[in-house]
């Protein structure tokens, strides 16, 4: 899920009337000095990082002068949590706190509703008091029942003078969560200050990935759950997914330290969440390290599967490629086979490939994949629903043992030499289709019509022309990929679909 930093979440709360501590998010120690000066010298500095137990991990420091704040910020900005370096530090005024509350809004799958967890003793040791935390269900349409909030407060030791202000603050928190479609929003602690006012001393927010599209104001670049900052390749993959909504394409890189002591570094290509997880286990059990997780499912187009395979193979150091889904897919599997065959052919694949293509039309899918890759240096094998993930992983292991030992860094994209010359080209979404007109004749062109599902036809004398309007052709990338692969299988490579990927084949701004 997309996460917001503390200071970003606090700004959202402040916009809905909740008081937040005066402060600034800074990126350098000098900025921390300035921020502390304007706050009167005594401040607290907090790393902006997506971790739990920040204080215990040394991510919170106090300073009593701007110089101390500068030194503290320098120390915090050198820290690293997991794969995340600390890039920002929040410098805030010190609060004179008289009471702390734990307030957390989560989505309760059993109640099918947001749930507010409220504890008037604050957040420390909350795990041990789980049973005493008040749980107040929230109506999506009507918000939170103020009476129930006040009833919980009435049972607490908090002076009643602060109850109305706390109820207002909690209503603002619930309102904020709904407005930004949060998956969780935690204010731990929500505090009552010595002067009786209420203030959000911390804030952790995660946003529902599926709703990010309608919240451009949040500035979320990549709505994905990752335990590291998005890599360049993950950003490429995310952009590809945003541009093509036929099916789903998910890509995440995994930690690979120490892979050299395993049997190999593998590009993984799953189809469907459940089947993917099972297949990952199967290939891991054979002693391999997975470089990535990838899932193309939900009836993806050939173009989408092609792009996914290209992204996977853009990782350096891979020694093999393993693909497998649920094994009994409802989708017709040949679309995926065409996409994979195109990627492997374009790259002149040298790494062993095993892909389990079980499901509808599996025989046709396996035939397309194996036949189209028959002349490649790599062994490429397709399997069906009666072949278990464990069997496919064993088969993969056998191919790996006989492999020549190349790695993915040596693979380069090959474009036919006739592309770009006098060959015929027309634009499609994301690229061009090239046809080597010189080598087309009546017989081949008739086949092109068949293989492109009727998008192309003989314009006379064996010259292929579009049989549909340009708009339809522009959306027919997958039909053209099928056509390209069938041309290849028949020994007449006269059509090439050029789909350069921004960030891999060319710089982002050029493609």
């Amino acid at each position: 899920m997309a996460r917001l930093h503390e200071y970003q979440g606090k700004a959202l709360l402040a916009a809905r009337g909740l008081r937040i501590p005066a402060g600034d998010a800074v990126r350098t120690a000098e900025q921390a000095h300035d921020a502390a000066s304007s706050l009167g010298g005594k401040v607290v500095l907090k790393v902006q990082a997506w971790i739990t137990g920040r204080k215990a991990k040394g991510g919170v420091l106090f300073a009593s002068s701007p110089d101390e704040a500068e030194a503290a910020a320098a120390q915090l900005l050198r820290m690293r949590f997991g794969n995340f370096p600390v890039e920002e530090v929040l410098v805030e005024e010190l609060l004179d706190i008289s009471h702390e509350l734990f307030v957390s809004l989560t989505i309760d799958d059993a109640a099918q509703a947001p749930m507010l967890l409220l504890d008037c003793e604050g957040g420390s040791g909350i795990e041990d008091r789980a049973d005493s935390v008040a749980r107040i269900p929230i109506s999506v349409s009507e918000g939170i029942d103020r009476g129930r909030v006040l009833a919980v407060l009435a049972e607490s030791s908090i002076p009643s003078a602060a109850h109305e202000a706390l109820a207002d603050a909690i209503a603002a928190i619930v309102q904020t969560a709904g407005d930004i479609e949060a998956r969780s929003l935690e204010v731990n602690p929500l505090v009552v200050l010595a002067d009786g006012s209420v203030c959000a001393a911390d804030c952790r927010v995660t946003i529902d990935d599926y709703a990010v599209f309608r919240h451009p104001e949040l500035g979320i670049e990549i709505a994905r759950e990752l335990d590291h900052p998005a890599t360049a390749l993950e950003s490429v993959a995310y952009r590809l997914e945003q541009e093509d909504h036929r099916g789903t394409f998910y890509f995440a890189q995994l930690p690979t330290e120490g892979w050299e002591s395993t049997k190999g570094l593998i590009g993984f290509h799953g189809a469907g969440g459940g089947g993917s997880m099972m297949s990952m286990d199967a290939v891991t059990n054979e002693g391999y390290t997975l470089a990535n997780f990838c899932d193309t499912s939900g009836n993806p187009s050939a173009a989408k599967v092609y792009r996914a395979a290209r992204v996977i193979l853009s990782q350096q150091g891979l020694t093999g490629y393993f693909g497998s889904g649920s094994g009994v897919a409802s989708q017709e599997q040949f679309h995926s086979a065409y996409g994979l065959a195109k990627a492997f052919n374009e790259l002149g694949m040298t790494l062993p490939v095993v892909v389990r293509l079980g499901g509808n039309a599996e025989d046709r899918a396996v035939d397309i994949l194996e036949d189209a890759c028959r002349d490649l240096p790599a062994a490429v094998e397709g399997y069906r629903k009666d072949d278990t993930p464990a069997f496919c992983a064993e088969r993969f292991s056998a191919l790996m043992e006989n492999a020549s030992g190349g790695a993915s860094g040596e693979l380069t994209r090959r474009v036919p030499d006739w592309v770009g010359g006098d060959a015929e080209a027309f634009p499609i979404e994301g690229g061009h289709v090239w046809i080597d007109i010189e080598r087309c004749n009546r017989e081949i062109t008739a086949k092109l019509g068949e293989w492109s599902s009727g998008i192309l036809k003989d314009g006379g004398e064996g010259t292929p022309v579009l049989a549909c309007d340009e708009e339809t052709a522009a959306k027919s990338d997958s039909e053209f990929i099928a056509c390209e692969i069938e041309c290849l299988r028949a020994g007449h490579p006269v059509l090439f679909v050029d789909l350069p990927i921004a960030g891999i084949d060319c710089p982002q701004e050029v493609c």
Partner: protein, 308 residues
């Protein structure tokens, strides 16, 4: 019998004129589902696969003399509107097929469904199939495949299947059928965090179904539905044998592998916690997915049939 769907239920399709709606209407029809109508705003008067299309759900319901189920195939951002329209037109069971439905929309759908005393399945469901009877959604993909893959119920050997993974719903049904078992119904509850029917509700339907003799489930990390099912088993409300596989053993906290619902948050929804809950409630949890058919046969006291 069977649960949720059979050949007698009257079904409509919302978004019937779209690419998916059209293709899946054909599957449902060819498999034996009684699809009586469809709707797409502005497309009233057309026909899809010989099925009349109306502008609104209310019009189809009216023309059909009441319906039992509506299957929704519209873009994710329009799902909430479609579901609310169906509930308000009096539809008591709505299936939400699309993926990527915003969470707060799903919760609004749940609130509206409850207010109208209606149930829903999904979002992000592949569907429900009762072999030999009917299918809603897209399980099987093609009618001939679905007929070939899943056995019809067989006395003494019939299981009900429920799953949080779409692909694995079909896989479970297929491998159980190959082991010689019959299937009453396969229900993919959906892959999202907030869903309509979940394992406890579906299991109660299987418990009440005379044909279903054991319940097989494909669970996953994240959420609480496996634990809530275990509570029903502990309370004696589910007494039929339960055989389970729980996916995601290797997944790390906080990293999501495809299904939005398959994410461990804190110590909730872990693999170990789910395995323990079901085991302590008297269910059988297999370690490898491939062990599921054998365990299901054992639970029913029948031999595995090889090479069917």
């Amino acid at each position: 019998m069977a649960i949720i769907i059979d050949e007698t239920k009257k079904v409509i399709v919302q978004g019937i004129t779209g690419r998916e709606g059209r293709a899946r209407t054909r599957l449902m029809r060819e498999f034996g589902t009684n699809v009586v109508g469809g709707c797409t705003p502005g497309k009233g008067g057309q026909e899809v696969e010989g099925i009349p299309v109306y502008d609104t759900v209310a019009e189809v319901v009216d023309a059909s003399g009441g319906i039992d189920v509506s299957v929704v195939f519209v873009p994710a951002r329009l799902v909430k509107g479609a579901a609310v329209e169906a509930f308000e037109a009096g539809v008591k069971l709505v299936m939400l097929v699309p993926d990527r439905v915003p969470l707060w929309d799903a919760m609004a759908i749940a609130e509206c469904g409850a207010a109208n005393d209606a149930e829903f399945i999904g979002p992000n469901t592949l569907g429900v199939i009762s072999p030999g009877r009917a299918v809603i959604g897209m399980i099987g993909g093609r009618a001939d495949s679905a007929k070939q893959w899943f056995n019809e119920p067989i006395q003494g050997k019939t299981v009900g299947v429920m799953s949080r993974s779409g692909g694995m719903s079909s896989s479970c049904g297929y491998y159980l059928s190959r082991a010689g078992l019959g299937i009453s119904t396969i229900c993919h509850v959906g892959g999202d965090s907030v869903l309509g029917l979940t394992f406890p509700e579906v299991a109660l339907k299987f418990q009440d179904d005379a044909e279903t003799e054991a319940i097989v489930l494909f669970g996953e990390i994240g959420g609480s539905m496996e634990e809530r099912l275990a509570e029903l088993m502990q309370a004696g409300r589910i007494t039929k044998p339960v055989v389970a596989y729980i996916g995601g053993k290797a997944a790390k906290e906080g990293t999501r592998f495809s299904h939005a619902g398959a994410i461990i948050e804190g110590d909730r929804g872990t693999h170990a916690g789910k395995v323990r809950a079901i085991t302590e409630a008297g269910g059988v949890v297999v370690d490898g997915f491939g062990d599921l058919p054998e365990a299901a046969c054992a639970a029913l006291g029948v031999a595995v049939e090889a090479n069917r």
